[in-house]
């Protein structure tokens, strides 16, 4: 048992953690990830937990939070106690902040998101505003509480997660690499806030990090795990680093003051001569402009400028670092260079030597031509895996291009060896750790020696040893006269780059003033759903097309009323156009029904028109009303009006909140397949089927992974035991709801009168 008595402790009444003989083997692993961990953390201590990739740091953190088995299953033994009870005994006693910004967001607005834990623990609604406001103030989020969560930067999202935990007044705060995915400015803002709140509240704090430097001054104590999941060093940070610094660095831990490791050399002869001479411009980007649109479920789109007026020359035999804050558009720029996103302005041209049949814009090339010349390492390696063994994964592009199998195999094996993946050749790539998958993506991208490599945050999450290997491969490829482009926040990578380009966030068009709201927007989700459902009887009972026409006319009048937006302010745009777009499937359906009725042998225009119009009657109210259903409100109303069980309803609302991200996943997988030479081509129906299956499966996998992470975040805020929940927002049935309901009965009445 490790209880160093020379470790200073800063006050704090509660928050003593006691771990005894904790061992955990997740199913699917032969060896335990945690092995006989004994650890006592006195109340108020600030502990920094470090270890090489795969040492089980995050796993131990989840065990401390009592959420180890929320999203995983395996064999567990030993105990974890917080102040003598189980960590889950009081909801919110343990606050948890996860690595990926936004991964734990449950609501559309920041105020509602902070209130989530309070709702779970049954805090009366009247007490919520004060507690939400003070939690937001503690993390210096000063914007209005109805600010959309998606509008926050990565650093702000991490501070929001912290506010959500603080609102429950935890005794123990756990932070899982809270700044790993942030740029330096955002990372510093998170560290400052963590330092401030843990000091002022005397919180016991455990921070997991793989880069110690910025956290050393913060911590009272440093605990080091080795790659087998055992505690190997423990004590005050200064002493541990003085005694063990060199040994820790050799294990791969980023120890402050120790110089960056030298890149690991790639075996000579792995790469042959390049296609261009050194310093020749391989890729020339001229005045690029890229707009990104997010299409939301209600049919509205948000458009932002991701890249604007960007010029860049990428030269063979040189490495280029693209730097700049998160959200500056670096990732989008990289996609635009490879012709993987539509651009709204400018040009991308490759060197004539690399051109395909005279075409110099990669956007116009076939998937194989793209793969031959360009390679892309995505930030999200996991969703772009295509094969079921590591070896097949890295051989994918070489095989698609028809390279000599034996030579390609030799190259792949050499590169896998450099990156420490050689022993995993036959493993399923989807079962590797995140860091391993990123390295695998690197090998997959470079094995066929592309003339241009575009790597998005290639070194994130790597320890010293794997970092040296990744940088070694980047430099070997550069030395073979490929052009290498890396987006990065990593000073070590920037220092070694031949050229550095700073990308700054383009000016955004001013957001228009909030337009007037249509009358229908005042109705709640249940009335809107009921109004849509009432269209079914209206359609079904219409006996003849003349009746249907009268019903449809009634509906159109009501639509005009519903979409009217009286009052002051700018006129809302696109109301009727939106309805028209949402009616397209309905119109197609009406024509199709009419056509099949005709084919059935009726050949009676009366019957055909009746069948077709009936479809329109059923569909039109949905096309008008459903757009105004809000996900958070739907949850509130289903639970408070219909008294449906709280937890499924909240889960539904959380899922609806994320639906618009599914399309991004789909697009990302499609890009990865195109750049690796295996995208569907119109000539091969088989390849189209393969692609549809791969994209669907990939979208499902990513959404399920998001669900698993969200489950951890939600349970850390007391959702597991939230059977008697309170609700931050009331869900009254209002006048607008009654009006929608009554008016939706009008078409039914018209239909019935004709019967």
């Amino acid at each position: 048992m490790l209880t160093p008595d020379d470790v200073p402790v800063a006050g704090g009444a509660a928050g003593r953690v006691e771990v005894r003989d904790l061992t955990w083997r997740p199913y699917g692993r032969r060896e335990p990830v945690l092995r006989g961990i004994d650890l006592v953390v006195p109340a108020g201590q600030r502990l920094l937990l470090v270890g090489p990739s795969g040492s089980g740091k995050s796993t131990l953190l989840r065990a401390l939070a009592g959420v180890l088995e929320v999203a995983d299953s395996g064999e567990l033994s030993g105990s974890v106690l917080l102040d003598g009870t189980e960590p889950g005994a009081r909801a919110g006693a343990v606050g948890l902040v996860l690595q990926e910004p936004g991964a734990g967001v449950v609501s559309a607005t920041i105020g509602r998101d902070v209130a989530f834990g309070l709702e779970n623990t049954g805090v009366p609604r009247a007490d919520m505003p004060d507690r939400v406001a003070s939690a937001l103030a503690a993390v210096h989020l000063t914007m209005p509480q109805d600010t959309p969560t998606h509008a926050l930067s990565g650093g702000e999202q991490q501070r929001l997660a912290l506010a959500g935990a603080l609102a429950l007044e935890p005794g123990l705060l756990l932070l899982d690499e809270p700044t790993a995915m942030l740029d330096p400015v955002n990372a510093a803002s998170v560290r400052e806030v963590v330092d401030e709140v843990t000091r002022s509240r005397g919180l016991t704090t455990v921070v997991v990090e793989h880069r110690l430097g910025p956290w050393v001054d913060f911590a009272d104590r440093l605990v080091v795990l080795d790659s087998a999941g055992r505690v190997v060093a423990d004590g005050p940070p200064g002493r541990v680093l003085a005694d063990e610094g060199e040994a820790l660095a050799a294990q791969g831990i980023w120890v402050p003051g120790v110089a960056d490791p030298d890149p690991i050399p790639v075996p000579p002869g792995t790469f042959g001569p390049g296609r261009l001479g050194a310093h020749v411009v391989a890729l020339d980007a001229v005045d690029l402009r890229v707009e990104r649109s997010v299409r939301r479920l209600d049919g509205s789109t948000r458009t932002s400028v991701a890249v604007d007026a960007q010029w860049l020359q990428v030269r063979a035999g040189e490495s280029h670092a693209l730097i700049g804050p998160s959200g500056a558009g670096k990732s989008t720029l990289v996609l635009a260079l490879a012709g993987l996103v539509d651009r709204q302005g400018g040009q991308v041209r490759v060197h004539p030597e690399l051109a395909v049949e005279g075409g110099r814009d990669p956007r116009d090339w076939s998937t194989k031509d793209v793969a031959r010349t360009l390679a892309w390492v995505p930030q999200w390696a996991s969703s772009t895996l295509v094969a079921s063994t590591v070896l097949d994964e890295v051989m994918t592009t070489s095989r698609a291009l028809g390279l000599v199998e034996s030579e390609a195999l030799a190259r792949c094996r050499a590169l896998l060896g450099v990156l420490g993946l050689g022993h995993l050749e036959q493993a399923d790539p989807r079962h590797l750790s995140g860091g391993e998958q990123r390295r695998l993506a690197m090998v997959s991208a470079v094995a066929h020696q592309p003339a241009v490599l575009l790597a998005d945050e290639a070194t994130v999450g790597q320890d010293r040893r794997t970092w040296a290997a990744v940088v070694g491969i980047l430099e070997a490829l550069r030395d073979a006269d490929s052009a290498v482009v890396v987006t990065t926040h990593d000073d070590g990578v920037v220092d070694r780059a031949d050229r550095v380009t700073t990308v700054s966030r383009p000016a955004q068009p001013p957001s228009p003033p909030t337009p007037r709201r249509p009358l229908v927007a005042r109705a709640g989700p249940l009335a809107l759903l009921a109004g849509s459902l009432l269209a079914i009887p209206a359609g079904v009972v219409s006996p003849h097309w003349r009746t249907s026409l009268a019903v449809l006319a009634t509906q159109l009048v009501l639509m005009g009323l519903a979409l009217a937006a009286p009052g002051r302010g700018p006129r809302p745009r696109g109301r009727a156009a939106g309805v028209a777009v949402r009616m397209v499937p309905g119109l197609v359906g009406a024509v199709s029904v009419a056509w099949s009725t005709w084919l059935l042998g009726t050949r009676d225009l009366d019957v055909v028109a009746t069948a077709g119009l009936r479809v329109l009657v059923i569909v039109l109210p949905s096309a008008v009303l459903i757009r105004y259903v809000d996900a958070d409100a739907l949850g509130d109303h289903l639970a408070q009006q219909l008294r449906l069980p709280a937890r499924p309803v909240v889960a539904l609302a959380a899922a609806l909140q994320r639906v618009h991200t599914f399309g991004d996943t789909w697009a990302e997988i499609a890009r990865a397949r195109r750049v690796r030479g295996i995208a569907a081509t119109a000539r091969s129906p088989r390849s189209v089927l393969d692609e549809v299956w791969a994209l669907t499966l990939g979208m499902l996998v990513r959404s399920l992974q998001a669900a698993a992470v969200l489950a951890v975040a939600m349970d850390a805020r007391g959702f597991a035991t939230a059977s008697r929940r309170t609700w931050a927002h009331a869900a009254p049935w209002g006048l607008a709801d009654s009006l929608v309901l009554v008016l939706s009965l009008a078409p039914v009445a018209v239909a019935l009168l004709a019967v």
Binding site: R30, D72, S77, D428, L700, V701, D715
Partner: protein, 243 residues
């Protein structure tokens, strides 16, 4: 029954007992206390109480449903061509192109293995698919409830204890009858009873093959991809391929 030893109770309560809390037998169905014999080879029940929905169960069913909803909407745009071709040949054959819409309930049930999972998954899929606008409007939601209820009945009949290919096929098949009867009233009002019955039969068989068979394959593929680590099906796959 090996199922009584299944690890992973309700979250927040099981990680901290002072003795060994889990045993490996549930995952393999063959080792363990010696007195256990697996009731049905290859199917592990949901952990803890059958009605004890964990957070990850709820979120997974919601996210699965939402993802299926998007796919359903896409199929709604694409199915017209094939459906017209089949309809031209013999109208009740359109039951074949309707079968993919039965898949969410099957997959939800196979993954979560708790009462209500199949129904909830199919209903959420229907709800999400109607949000961007479909040719059936709110009628989609009614269909979702009826299809999901059918799949739910299949898993109920099996006592929430069997989740193999046969169970998947049964769930796919039973998703069809209630939906077919509803469609008679709303979409196929002009058909005679012979067409209506044939349509129901074709939808049932296609449901078993397309929704059941493909749904079973998809569930296995998701488990192999490591996306179902918290679920019985994930254990079944992972323990046989440990790394």
């Amino acid at each position: 029954m090996s199922t009584t030893n299944t690890p992973a109770g309700s979250p927040g309560t099981s990680t901290t007992s002072t003795a060994t809390t889990s045993t490996p037998d549930a995952s393999t169905g063959s080792t363990g206390t010696g007195t256990t014999t697996p009731a049905r080879r290859g199917s592990i029940r949901a952990s803890g109480s059958l009605f004890g929905w964990r957070t990850v169960d709820l979120l997974t069913v919601a996210f699965l449903g939402a993802a299926f909803g998007i796919a359903y909407w896409g199929w709604g745009l694409a199915y017209g061509g094939p459906a017209d071709l089949l309809g031209k040949a013999f109208p009740p054959l359109q039951g074949i192109t309707a079968a993919p819409w039965l898949m969410a309930g099957v997959v939800g049930g196979l993954v979560i293995r708790r009462p209500g999972a199949a129904l909830l998954c199919e209903v959420i899929a229907a709800l999400v698919s109607m949000l961007p606008g479909t040719q059936w409007g709110a009628s989609t939601l009614v269909s979702g409830i009826l299809q999901g209820a059918g799949a739910e009945i299949a898993f109920l009949l099996l006592g929430y204890g069997a989740f193999g290919l046969g169970a998947a096929a049964l769930a796919g098949a039973l998703s069809a009858p209630l939906e077919a009867v509803y469609e008679w009233q709303v979409y196929w009002t002009d058909w005679g009873m012979d067409y209506k019955l044939l349509y129901g039969a074709i939808l049932t068989v296609s449901g078993a093959v397309i929704a059941g068979g493909l749904g079973w394959l998809l569930t296995r593929a998701l488990a192999k991809a490591g996306a179902l680590g918290a679920f019985p099906v994930g254990q079944e796959v992972r323990e046989t391929r440990a790394v």
